[in-house]
């Protein structure tokens, strides 16, 4: 029972309290804000797997988000694909690129990997910008149909919100199961010392490619959701600055922490909006808050140690056996 309470609370907040509040406010702007927050939660969760859990600093995450968005945009506007198909297809296309990029780069040592992802991210951006016959270049792709998967009309603000919330919850479940398991322990071992992990019997390169494939799949889904809810995609939405924004969410929330990724995404999307009243100075204020967070809470607002402890205690993920008095390991 204790293990079921916390997941129920998360579900209740996501599917009952929040949508009820948003409907009562009756504002399209707030719904849009909730949608963008959910999309960025998926992005920060997926980057958390690569960077926080497996310890691979990636500076090109927005490129996979962009690939997903363009895949959904092109499939739905040119080929008339249903949103029920474009969303998983966007994930697959993005994961395909993820694996293709991971194969040669996963043998690189940390900082070289970061620079390689930076370069590849920029290449993808430049391709989106200049391959005019395919992507319409800087004009972007408009008239992307709203969310009507398999004939269900979810194009209303509430309908879209529910679909996004359900998919974000699904992505959270994927990241939770990967990170909060012995598979996650293997990934954390790569982060801590990949040579040593190798000597302990872990196929290091294969694990890195797997986690990159999973994370880029999720980023592609986030891109498709962005394309369908915005109705328009433009290369500028998937620039290096977006990668850095996602990285900031992960770091401010807490590297390696799954709840931290959500806290970081919510904070960095909602804070600039909440500060709209103070005008352009708000960007400075957000920067200052990020700076102070890192300075005083280098482990993040919701650090990994606290996060793993919470998941073990409240989400029933721990192993209980032997003479251990405390929750340890994974179920």
């Amino acid at each position: 029972m204790r293990g079921a309470l916390a997941p129920l609370a998360v579900a209740a907040a996501l599917f009952a309290i929040l949508p009820m509040g948003l409907s009562m406010a009756g504002s399209g702007y707030l719904f849009r804000l909730a949608d963008v927050t959910l999309i960025f939660c998926i992005l920060s969760l997926s980057m958390q797997l690569i960077t926080g859990v497996a310890g691979l600093l990636t500076l090109g995450h927005a490129a996979f988000y962009g690939i997903g968005a363009y895949a959904a945009a092109i499939l739905s506007t040119r080929l008339g694909f249903d949103a029920g198909l474009t969303i998983p297809a966007a994930g697959l296309v993005s994961a395909l690129f993820g694996v293709l990029i991971a194969l040669p780069t996963m043998r690189l040592v940390s900082i070289y990997f970061a620079v390689a992802t930076l370069g590849l991210g920029e290449m993808i951006y430049v391709t989106l910008l200049n391959w005019v016959s395919f992507t319409r270049g800087p004009l972007g792709i408009g008239d992307i149909p709203p969310l009507r998967p398999f004939g269900f009309d979810l194009s209303s603000p509430l309908g879209s919100y529910f679909l996004l919330a359900a998919l974000a919850a699904l992505c959270l479940l994927v990241v939770h199961r990967i990170a909060h398991s012995y598979y996650g322990n293997a990934l954390r071992a790569l982060r801590e010392d990949d040579q040593c992990a190798d000597a302990m019997g872990l196929p290091v390169v294969r694990l890195k490619i797997e986690v990159f494939a999973i994370a880029t799949f999720l980023a592609g889904i986030a891109g498709a959701l962005w394309a369908h809810t915005t109705g328009y995609v433009n290369p500028a939405d998937f620039r290096f600055a977006e990668s850095i924004l996602i990285l900031a969410m992960v770091v401010v929330g807490g590297l390696g922490s799954i709840p931290g990724a959500i806290v970081g995404a919510a904070l960095l999307i909602l804070l600039p909006e909440a500060l709209r009243a103070i005008g352009e100075v708000r960007i400075l204020a957000v920067g200052l808050i990020m700076f102070l967070c890192i300075l005083f809470l280098p482990k993040g607002l919701f650090g990994e140690v606290a996060a793993l402890d919470l998941v073990r205690r409240q989400f029933g993920a721990a192993w209980r056996g032997g003479s251990a008095a405390r929750p340890l390991g994974w179920r």
Binding site: Y182, A186, W319, G322, W330
Partner: protein, 255 residues
């Protein structure tokens, strides 16, 4: 048939011959020491056995099968568990999670079964947990299981490395200078512990710089000097060997 066979292994780094035509064998159930002065090639030979460095020539066979050229993780899964000379624990993981990595490494794990939480995945997780707990109890680390490895007292960290290697269920345990940084009392405690592991049936290769630990507990000692094997005999014989004494006295005092 010996468990581990080192067959004319040579390893060159450019012009330097770090390991020069070394052969040797370890039988199942033995406790063997590998000693030598600094720069004798112990660590290089160690890395050849564990797959970190391919040999320039020669072969290593484990349980009758060729393991030269295999990646370290494959060699580990064949049954060679190792520790590192300068502690390489996973500092931001708990003691329990550190050790679990060894069990996961040995049993293997996949993302799809983890995602779907298949029956096989749940059974595997129980198996990993049980093996981890067993390795912790064997090394008397169970009371520290919940601590972050970084918060573990220094002397206990050696045991954490050994526990992690034990969790890989090795047939051969290779310890790289386990006594480094320990005082006399701690070294004596470690010697007792290694003897207990051996008495329980584990085959152990102990690579040491310090002679006293090796001479005290090993049944047989191989001595390397300048990349060559200069002796391979019981401790009492090796201690009287003029060539060994010269090799040691030429560089430093025997400890």
């Amino acid at each position: 048939m010996p468990l581990l066979e080192i067959d004319h292994v040579t390893r060159r780094f450019g012009g330097l011959v770090a390991v020069d035509d070394v052969s040797g064998a370890i039988a199942e159930g033995e406790l063997v020491g590998l000693i030598g002065p600094n720069g004798a090639g112990k660590t290089t030979l160690f890395n050849v056995i564990c797959g970190f460095t391919p040999p320039s020539s020669g072969e290593v066979r484990f349980a009758g099968e060729l393991i030269t050229g295999l990646k370290p993780w494959r060699i580990c899964r064949r049954g060679i568990g190792r520790t590192f000379q300068n502690l390489r624990i996973f500092p931001n993981m708990t003691v329990f999670d550190n050790v679990s990595v060894g069990a996961v490494g040995r049993l293997g794990i996949g993302p799809v079964e983890t995602l779907l939480r298949t029956r096989a995945a749940r059974d595997r997780a129980r198996d990993v947990s049980a093996r981890t707990w067993q390795a912790l109890e064997r090394t008397e680390l169970a009371p520290y299981a919940h601590l972050l490895a970084a918060d573990l007292p220094y002397g206990r960290r050696k045991y954490l490395e050994i526990a992690r290697a034990l969790a890989t269920s090795p047939r051969l345990l290779v310890l790289d200078e386990p006594a480094a940084g320990l005082n006399d009392t701690e070294t004596a405690e470690l010697a007792r512990f290694i003897r207990t592991l051996h008495a329980e049936g584990l085959t152990i290769l102990l690579v040491e710089h310090d002679m006293s630990l090796v001479m005290g507990i090993c049944q047989r000692v191989m001595v390397l000097a300048s990349g060559r094997k200069i002796a391979d005999a019981p401790p009492a014989v090796v201690q009287q060997d003029p060539i060994v004494l010269e090799a040691y006295l030429g560089t430093e005092e025997p400890a």
